[in-house]
């Protein structure tokens, strides 16, 4: 287990999520794929937090110890925002479902050139 391995795992998850968000027809599946991407980012952040020196760590450890947690804090916020995003996303999916009788993104393409 190393930083690189962790980052690569995260990158793979991110790529899978990206694929899913681009290639799935169902809006819910897309939302799920996006969550995958957020998770991959979280994983990256936490891994970096563990392995990478925070800014100015060398100068005075005591003053900068909190820096080692920044990545984790970031991850907390991302989880929260992801929750909000899902909530809003579901709201829109329902609104769309009600208005178009479909959650298939390929079919919902009235707005185009």
């Amino acid at each position: 287990m190393s930083l690189e391995a962790m980052l690569i795992i995260a990158a793979i998850l991110f790529a899978i999520g990206l694929y899913g968000s681009l290639a799935r027809r169902n809006a819910l599946a897309v939302l799920m794929s996006i969550e995958l991407m957020f998770n991959a980012v979280n994983l990256t952040l936490v891994a970096l937090a563990k392995y990478v020196a925070p800014f100015a760590l060398d100068e005075d450890l005591a003053e900068n110890l909190s820096g080692v947690l920044t990545g984790q804090v970031f991850a907390v916020f991302i989880i929260t925002v992801a929750a909000a995003e899902i909530a809003l996303g579901l709201g829109i999916v329902f609104a769309m479902y009600r208005n178009t009788e479909s959650v298939d993104l390929t079919e919902v393409a009235e707005l185009r050139n």
Partner: protein
């Protein structure tokens, strides 16, 4: 170390496999369940990365709340069984994902990361763990944090302290964000006004 490596690889394979399942399986319901599996394995990674608190949050919020929300949503819409069809963009999507992956891998491998030195690694682990655990003084001393001020700093720099300290502003802002998102979601879920047609 060996144990850690084994767990790491198992978690990695499970996470990636489950993630592939999420995006490839046609049954949306099963995909949602696999998503939970991904979340849980990521939580496992978190534990390995000294982020126990995050692991808990991950399981609670993601595996618990969000997944349940999604599963409800899946069940409320039609075509659950074969609802996860790929669209016409499959080939470019694979291509883009692969390209991005290769870029990210290059970044991960080729970047000269400013890694924490071996001697500091121990201290960092302690501080990061302190977010959820009480740290013994001898542990601190063992890891090289000998002076009082350093020990005090290590104890104070918990995750919670940060959230109401340095990151209080985003913390407040994200609460507003949650509120706004909920209101928005609420409004959008409203029934159609009677008599109107799409």
């Amino acid at each position: 170390m060996l144990f850690q490596d084994v767990v790491f690889w198992i978690l990695g394979i499970v996470a990636i496999g489950a993630a592939l399942g999420v995006v490839l399986i046609k049954d949306l319901f099963r995909a949602a369940l696999l998503l939970v599996l991904v979340f849980v394995s990521v939580a496992g990674f978190f534990v390995m990365l000294n982020a126990e608190f995050l692991a808990v949050v991950q399981v609670l919020i993601y595996a618990g709340a969000i997944s349940i929300l999604i599963i409800f949503a899946v069940m409320l819409t039609k075509d659950v069984q074969r609802g996860n069809m790929p669209n016409r963009l499959q080939v470019p999507a694979v291509l883009f994902a692969a390209l991005l992956l290769s870029v990210l891998v290059i970044v991960a491998v080729d970047t000269d990361w400013n890694l924490i030195s071996e001697e500091d690694q121990e201290k960092v682990s302690l501080v990061q763990t302190s977010a959820v655990a009480n740290i013994e003084t001898e542990d601190l001393e063992a890891s090289g944090l000998t002076t009082d001020s350093e020990q005090a700093a290590a104890r104070e720099s918990g995750l919670a302290d940060l959230l109401i300290g340095d990151f209080v502003l985003p913390f407040e802002a994200v609460s507003v964000l949650l509120l706004a998102a909920l209101i928005g979601s609420l409004v959008l879920m409203r029934p159609r006004p009677p008599g109107s047609t799409s």
